[in-house]
């Protein structure tokens, strides 16, 4: 019976991943991915955090570049409040050579990233989460030891001009969680570069 249940849940988890990744309310899988300092980072390493701002991003996409300083500011504002940024680059380096690990290290140094910048070399995490573009944000709240997804989408509503932003989607979500409230707008969409998946 137990093995049957395990098998069933395995099949179900495969099915849900095929069906396009996580939805708001799902439990996010932890990861162990190589950071720019060569050491692996997991969500479990952050014993004192209340949650995470996980950002799938890369070195090259113009949207990732346009949002870079805003991602840095998110970490500066929210890491101390319990919601650190964890950035993950999922792009296949064969398709985009400039998204290499060496370039990640260089970029993080140059721009003084205050957060981990991890390489999802197998693309398993991006695929499991259902990330499709860069940047693509998943706000996660720790509830009784589980990592629950509370927001999926864009950083704000104006990539072109930070001064003309009228809705800070991620900040609003994290502020709501910090205040013990439900996230009002839990899912948003944005234009972005497709994640460059490995050829099968």
């Amino acid at each position: 019976m137990k093995t049957k249940l395990i098998l069933l849940s395995l099949i179900l988890s495969v099915l849900t991943s095929v069906a396009g990744g996580y939805k708001v309310g799902d439990t996010a899988k932890d990861f162990s991915l190589k950071n720019i300092d060569g050491k692996n980072v997991s969500m479990a390493d952050f014993t004192n955090s209340k949650g995470f701002i996980v950002v799938f991003t890369c070195n090259t996409c113009p949207f990732a570049k346009a949002y870079e300083s805003r991602i840095i500011n998110l970490d500066k504002k929210y890491a101390a409040l319990g919601y650190p940024v964890i950035a993950i680059n999922p792009n296949d380096v064969k398709i985009v050579p400039e998204d290499s690990y060496a370039n990640m290290v260089e970029l993080a140094k140059e721009k003084k990233y205050p957060f981990p910048y991890l390489l999802d070399e197998s693309q398993e995490i991006a695929s499991t989460y259902g990330a499709s573009r860069t940047p693509h944000v998943f706000v996660i709240e720790k509830i009784k030891g589980a990592n629950i997804i509370k927001y999926i989408g864009a950083i704000d509503n104006n990539v072109d001009d930070a001064n003309k932003v009228t809705a800070k989607f991620v900040e609003n979500a994290v502020d709501a969680l910090l205040a013990g409230k439900e996230v009002q707008l839990a899912e948003t969409k944005a234009i972005g570069c497709t994640i460059k998946w490995k050829a099968n």
Binding site: N157, D161, K189, I191, G192
Partner: protein, 159 residues
């Protein structure tokens, strides 16, 4: 010299492709018309490599189906600040013949779902619409064969 310059300027503006600016509301009302026209929408940007690779397939389709009620719309999503110095020169250099639109909206969350709820917002994305209904949607690069098959399915019904 001046006259020469003026003439060549005039010549350039007559012969070179232009980029029509419009809002998502204007685009949606245009492609949702009940006029039996098959609208082929391709969302692209100059910075998007897979987009640029597939642009020629839409150009070829435009030529092939020019006698059918098919309208190819290449909808540019570069930043508004890049239209003059990046998009227009690109369109002229590539000598694109299809109609080029540029969406001026800055908040995609307001309109992506109105195009197709299956679209995450990643580009390229291709949508075929007829009489207000989406007949085909693809996020990521479309294959040229797939494009012709999907257009073919829709024009056989009316033409």
């Amino acid at each position: 010299m001046l006259i020469c310059g003026l003439i060549s300027l005039l010549f350039l503006s007559v012969n070179s492709q232009s980029v029509r600016l419009l809002s998502s509301t204007e685009l949606l009302s245009e492609v949702n018309k009940q006029n039996d026209t098959l609208y082929v929408l391709n969302f692209w940007a100059t910075w998007c490599k897979p987009c640029i690779e597939e642009l020629p397939w839409f150009e070829t389709a435009g030529k092939k189906y020019k006698d059918n009620t098919v309208k190819i719309l290449l909808i540019n999503l570069d930043f508004n600040s890049k239209v003059n110095n990046q998009v227009i020169p690109f369109v002229r250099k590539k000598e694109l013949k299809s109609e080029i639109l540029h969406l001026t909206d800055t908040d995609p969350n307001q309109w992506i779902n109105k195009i197709d709820s299956a679209w995450s917002g990643a580009i390229p994305a291709t949508v075929l619409m007829k009489n207000g209904k989406v007949t085909f949607f693809k996020e990521g690069q479309v294959s040229e064969k797939e494009l012709h098959i999907e257009i073919g399915k829709q024009i056989q019904k009316t033409d």
